[in-house]
């Protein structure tokens, strides 16, 4: 139901609001949480999603100026609340020159509110993996709304139809894209998520291959049913574990596995990286030589922006939607597909995927065949 734009019109709203304010505790996100979020989101980026560093810098600036952000659990949304889903779109390289400005993403949300007439209850991430994990925080700081503790990927993925809401066949439109110079566009209607991907990509390229976007608004009910819950908290927890372990000179990978039910797949050294850009994606393969328990065993990882399939001695052992994370064996920090290089010592781990992607429909969207690998999905975690 996309027509009604004032939630106040719904009978019982005020009562519900009062009820909610009694039980709901918005949690303030501390700057230390954000430092952890940046580290954890890079891990959940599974090789892509762009570095969260500049987003983190923006948040440090905002917190220094007195801005604060609060986190709201999905369960505290009312069914007819509206939630904005935001992300930055574009080439990470352009982002290194045209630095993320915290106000731009807030303008994308503002444009969406002007376009739809909704007032958003909170702001969530489209993609918790990589730099996009910080985008909702920047918007939230400027717009004085809470961040909703959820996203639509549980990681990073390269395309718009690779989301839980696309799996749920929720409407893909409208979408707003803004640029720091004041350019504003609305994609009002498209038939499918794939079309949304194609059209918004074109706009993004014209803007200079970088744009701040607010995706199709989601109702509280939709977020409860289809979003991937708790991923901001999860990202903070992973980052916190890594940072604590670094601080204490302990094994950061063991620390991640103590907060997430993941599995170590491999430990080794990068011996070859092959990259090519096709259809606007960074595709390629990385080969590793085993170390420790994996001495003599070869691993190969295929990527399309993110790590997609892992083969051990020619046999596929992990694949999307399982999260494949390549981590620096010493620091525990994630290694991206754009920057991985010869000689790096890494540990490859798998983290369990959101259940929504394990359904037949989910696998159509993000299983190995969605990336053109003719492999039947088998989870690392099903054995």
């Amino acid at each position: 139901m996309r027509g009604s734009f004032v939630s106040e019109a719904v009978p019982g709203y005020i009562d519900a609001l009062q009820e909610r304010s009694k039980r709901m505790a918005l949690r303030e996100i501390t700057l230390d949480d954000i430092e952890s979020l940046a580290v954890g989101a890079w891990v959940l980026g599974t090789g892509g999603g762009g570095s969260p560093y500049l987003g983190l810098l923006n948040m440090r600036q905002l917190y220094a100026e007195g801005y604060r952000v609060e986190l709201m659990a999905v369960d505290d949304l009312l069914d007819d609340d509206w939630v904005a889903a935001v992300s930055n779109m574009g080439a990470p390289l352009v982002g290194q020159e045209r630095l993320t400005d915290s106000r731009t993403i807030a303008r994308a949300v503002d444009l969406m509110e002007r376009h739809t007439g909704y007032r958003f209850r909170g702001i969530m991430a489209l993609e918790i993996g990589g730099g996009n994990a910080i985008q909702p925080l920047m918007a939230a700081a400027h717009l004085k709304r809470p961040v909703i503790d959820a996203d639509m990927m549980g990681r990073a993925y390269p395309e718009a139809q690779m989301t839980s809401v696309a799996v749920g066949d929720l409407v893909p439109y409208p979408l707003t894209t803004v640029d720091v110079r004041g350019l504003e566009s609305v994609v009002d209607k498209v038939p499918t998520w794939k079309w949304m991907e194609r059209v918004s990509r074109k706009i993004c390229v014209e803007y200079g291959s970088i744009a701040s976007t607010c995706k199709a608004p989601r109702s509280g009910a939709e977020v409860k049913k289809w979003a991937i819950h708790g991923t901001t908290t999860k990202s903070i927890a992973i980052g916190h574990a890594v940072r604590e372990a670094q601080h204490r000179h302990e094994d950061p990978i063991a620390a991640i596995l103590s907060v997430e039910p993941g599995k170590v797949l491999y430990r080794g050294k990068v011996v070859d990286v092959e990259r090519r850009a096709t259809e606007g994606f960074l595709r390629g393969r990385t080969r590793f030589d085993g170390m420790d328990d994996w001495r003599g065993a070869a691993m190969e990882l295929a990527f399309q922006n993110e790590w997609i399939v892992a083969w051990l001695d020619g046999k596929p052992i992990a694949m999307s939607p399982d999260l494949i994370c390549v981590l620096d064996s010493v620091s525990g920090e994630a290694v991206g597909t754009e920057t991985i290089r010869y000689g790096q010592r890494v540990t490859v781990i798998a983290l369990p995927p959101p259940p929504v992607f394990l359904t037949p429909k989910g696998l159509q969207h993000v299983g190995p065949r969605a990336f053109a690998y003719d492999i039947d999905f088998k989870s690392v975690f099903s054995a």
Partner: protein, 519 residues
């Protein structure tokens, strides 16, 4: 070709004379706190040996004095001798929430930040202007800088490595208002990544006064030694810049010491592709030579807490050296070291601290100090210490390998005696004559480089690389290289996701010998 190489190390300042490809003489002087005195002394010592004179007594023609110095990096790390800088960024309305200095350590920012100005300008990834340059605002900023008494200016602009025209124009406008300004354009420091490139430019601008004074002092030191030769300063990447360019871009000389020792190792061994282990008094550096140059770190390098993208060698440093503390029960070697106090604190020298050098003296590997003082150390004990040192070295070499298989290892530095002839994962260990002065040798033989790091569109991969190579060649020649001697030592291409029209980012680096006209 006759050159003098000088390396200012933590303990010694070494000078070496190289003639027609041969090391003629090596001398050492203690490093002085002001650095310059140590250089003067080392040059004087070299003169005293008579190698700088012809048989007739006339002074020989010297083609160049190449100095590797830690002056500039020390200034940043120790927060001394820094100039207040006006930062001008072209790129509004983008990037405004992350102004210049935004990720600097506060103590350093407080010393360097003279003021920040941001105006409209900059380019897109494909060379389109992002916004037209707001010239009136640049002039207004220049007047404010002038009023604030700022003379050192760092200019940055979005995508300036692709199109430096806005930075150049802004520099002209500022020079028109502040004729004696020292201006650093970030595009002169290459590399995509606005914040890191801008940081490098601001550090460079902060070193403007120090660079002017230091280079002048070096030139005076050479003149006072009676040597008539141009001064070159060695850079992070194993090449040199002639004095005027080094004065303009002092940040390029930040990490030349380690690079020089690797280059020197290549030269002294005649090997172009090998691993190098440089064992000093306190630390051991391990790096990899490719085509005679160190492989560079590909990532962000922090200098004094500031993120930069400098061309720096990819090195692994471990706490093992000739001055490393040794304890026997339980067995431990390093990472603590007596450092430059070795000749006072080592047991063979009458001190109380057992060091790796004492072990080497006891086992007859080194002839130094008083062997009687370490006679109580038996052969078994010595072997245990050597084995432990070898284990640490093996581990470091293994971590720096980029491919499986055994490698050739060149051992240099004053502590090279800790590197055994046989090591796991190493096919051959090469010890070279003058290996303890490899860094001064590396300085003496340094070449000139040029680099291009740019995005190309609608070109085949081959054409894009060729275009980048042409730009890099021109830059090397502008920096003083002889065109006929240029060779490409690095070529890296990266296709770009999300960009249309086969965009590819190409980085090419070329080197050549110093052109005759400079000598």
């Amino acid at each position: 070709m006759r050159r003098i190489g000088v390396d200012v190390g933590g303990t010694n300042t070494d000078a070496v004379l190289i003639e027609e490809g041969k090391v003629v003489r090596v001398v050492k002087a203690p490093t002085s706190e002001d650095v310059t005195t140590g250089i003067l002394e080392s040059l004087a010592k070299l003169g005293e040996t008579g190698v700088l004179k012809e048989a007739s007594g006339a002074l020989k023609r010297i083609d160049g004095v190449m100095i590797g110095t830690t002056h500039f990096i020390n200034a940043v790390v120790q927060r001394r001798h820094l100039t207040k800088v006006a930062a001008l960024r072209l790129g509004l309305p983008a990037s405004a929430s992350l102004p210049p200095f935004c990720d600097w350590p506060e103590d350093l920012a407080a010393l360097v930040r003279g003021g920040v100005w941001m105006v409209e300008g900059g380019h897109e990834y494909d060379g389109r202007p992002f916004m037209p340059l707001d010239e009136a605002e640049v002039t207004r900023a220049a007047r404010e800088m002038q009023a604030a008494g700022l003379k050192s200016v760092g200019i940055s602009s979005i995508f300036s490595p692709l199109d430096p025209s806005h930075e150049r124009r802004a520099a002209e406008l500022i020079a028109a208002e502040i004729p004696d300004a020292s201006i650093t354009c970030s595009s002169d420091l290459g590399r995509i990544g606005l914040l890191e490139r801008e940081n490098a430019g601001l550090l460079n601008a902060a070193l403007a006064d120090l660079a002017r004074e230091t280079i002048a002092a070096f030139e005076r030191a050479i003149r006072d030694s009676g040597i008539a030769a141009p001064l070159f300063i060695t850079q992070n990447d194993g090449t040199v810049a002639e004095a005027s360019q080094a004065r303009r871009l002092p940040v390029y000389s930040f990490a030349s010491g380690a690079t020089n020792s690797m280059r020197g190792a290549a030269y002294l061994s005649g090997l172009q592709d090998a691993m190098v282990i440089d064992v000093g008094g306190t630390t051991t550096d391990v790096g990899q030579l490719k085509h005679g140059f160190p492989r560079e770190a590909n990532s962000v390098v922090k200098v004094g807490g500031v993120r930069t993208l400098f061309r720096m060698p990819d090195l692994l440093s471990i706490g093992l050296g000739g001055g490393s503390h040794v304890s026997l029960d339980p067995l431990k070697v390093g990472p603590v070291s007596v450092g430059y106090r070795l000749l006072r604190d080592g047991i063979a020298f009458g001190g109380k601290q057992l060091t790796t050098t004492d072990i080497a003296i006891a086992s007859g590997v080194l002839e130094l100090g008083d062997r009687a003082k370490v006679a109580h150390l038996g052969a078994v004990t010595c072997q245990r210490v050597f084995d432990e040192s070898a284990r640490l070295a093996e581990e470091a070499v293994d971590s720096m390998k980029t491919e499986a298989g055994d490698v050739t290892l060149i051992a240099v530095g004053g502590g090279a005696f800790l590197v055994p002839e046989k090591m796991t994962g190493v096919s051959r260990v090469v010890h070279v004559e003058h290996g303890d002065c490899a860094n001064a040798v590396g300085a003496a033989i340094a070449q000139v480089s040029g680099e291009c790091d740019q995005i190309f569109r609608d070109l085949t991969r081959v054409d894009a690389i060729a275009a980048a190579q042409a730009i890099a060649n021109d830059r090397a020649v502008a920096a003083g290289a002889a065109r006929a001697t240029l060779t490409t030592i690095e070529s890296e291409d990266m296709p770009l996701a999300y960009m249309p029209g086969n965009s590819v980012r190409v980085r090419v680096r070329v080197v050549g010998d110093v052109a005759e006209s400079w000598c």
